[in-house]
Amino acid sequence: MERGAGTPRFFPHYRALIGGIVINKRFDILAGSVFLAVGAFFVVTSRGITSSSYGSNVGPAVFPTLLGIILMGLSAIVIYGAIVYKGPEKAKSSHNYKKLFILIASIVVYILIFERLGYIISTFLFLTFVFQLMERGHIVKSLIISAAFSVAVYLIYVVLLQGNLPPLPEFLTNLVAGG
């Protein structure tokens, strides 16, 4: 167990906690700043809430303002703790971040085509792509699983259970109906 050297005195347990865990200084400072900004944002915008709370002297702005202040205080503690932290840093992991970013990007594309191409086509494309992203090869297997999954979910959920999912695009259904 590593122990951080200089740690804040006003939040006594922080030392022992950091002693047990290794932190990523840069991440904690960044995340702390974001949460600090979120807290400040809520405090500031609470002032603009139109209050029509007659019969009550506790308007709709009180609760979020208090929470915003608390959040700012907590964020300050985390930022301070990270700045003065001198222990070992979290080792850079050898994780395959490239794969993760491609996955996230493909999820964004999936959202964008979800309504336009309809559930079946967008899900089929997404699954096929991500199966191949996870492991190259077995393209036929990928295609079959993707097609089976997207068609089965659509049939069971929309046709059988009368649920709501984006249908096939109009030009396709027109094509079938016209042909």
Binding site: F11, H13, L17, S56, P60, F63, L71, V153
Partner: protein, 508 residues
Amino acid sequence: MDTFHYLAIGFSQALQWHNILFCFIGVFVGTAVGVLPGIGPSSGTALLIPITATLTSMLKPEDAATSAIIMLAGVFYGAMYGGSTTSVLINTPGESASVVTCLDGYQMARKGRAGAALAIAAIGSFIAGLFALVMLALLAKPLAEVALKFGPTEYFSLVVLGLAAITGLAGKSMPKALIMLVTGLLLSTVGIDSVSGSERFAFGIPILYSGFDFITIAVGMFALGEVFKTMLEKDEGAQEFPKIGRVLPTRDDIRRSWKPIARGSVLGFFTGILPGAGATLSSFLSYTLEKRLSKHPEEFGKGAIEGVAGPESANNGAAGGALIPLLALGIPSSATTSVLMGAFMMYNVAPGPLLFDKHPVVAWGVIASMFLGNVMLLVLNMPLVKIFAKLVEVPSKILLPIIVSICFFGIYAVQGNTFNLFVMLFFGVAAFFLVANDFPAAPLVLGRILGPMLENNFRRALTGSNGDFSIFVRRPVSAALLVVALLWIVVPIVLKKRGRRVLVNEEN
């Protein structure tokens, strides 16, 4: 009218054919969720909510709520059964409450006794589940009656206590856990204020008027966040798969196990009632207890059946106990029960003291269905365990993309717009980075769910006191609850400062 009368009403609900079916789907999915790595009980429950919403749409509102909660509760306690299967077979817990089961369960499997380990885990879970249910049936209504006497001041403090308890045990760093909690509470204020009708933090954007829905946040943080995490972990590939063998314990196994099962049931149940403690903690406590009481402590870690029987009973007892604060007080005590609470809210059936008065059919129907569900689980996990074990072999490269796609399906089915898919993705990515740096996800989801209740009672209490904040400490019950809440945060801090190891509950 007494408990038996209410239970009879409950059984008349639970034994309707469609509720038997819902219960079966619930425990079946729960067992599968417990077995599959990469999807835990909280994300499994969250993902199933949209499907239950559709399945129950043709029923009357109160019947729909009963059927939906029966199914979702089934996932919750079913996962406790399924989680042990992977612990025993491949030394990988399917969910965190089964971590301890690896210690002796896997050793038993290596000695060719996997079947006995799985059987004793299922039997222990069954007995503990029944015990917790009987206690639940006896205790829930009296507790609800006490809470009924609470005014808004006391209720505010009670919610604070619940939040403090879960956050206090939620992660390694207290300030980080509190940050996540407060952020969740703040998120709950976005949208149209239910008291004054004024618009808050929506900036005239219509889609924000209804706020950030808990289901979108829960699916994003629990399910999607977990997918990202699992994707980066190395795929261990095909593992040596031990033979399960005979799925019946010997007479000697039973003789050695019945005491640990009995102790685990009681211990688990009472740990489960405490908010924040939950199933994982109870299994650790039970293991420690059994090792201390055993005449052969040296056998622990080498395949002692007591080390499987005790913890597995304890985690199931805790799952039952956790339903008491949820049903009677409206305070969820873990990530999964907070998702369950969100499901109640979706059907306009608020859990809490009024539940037993206003919706006795829902409350007792769910309790009665759990008797049935536990019997089904015993069957699923003893004779059929070999079929479920096959699920372990589903590779994550197939499972993960499909989970993402189920997230899409679920959120779109409930919300009907792609805006919420972006919100889900945002929370998934945020959860991935935050959780990796010890900012736990559960307090944020919990804060989002309990936020409105906390704020309403806060404002009602202050309106009653003409804006005097000291009301919260002047009323004795409220003050006592707040002191306990403070202790829940301070005691772990003091223990940690003294260099004691404090167990934290990491459900994800």
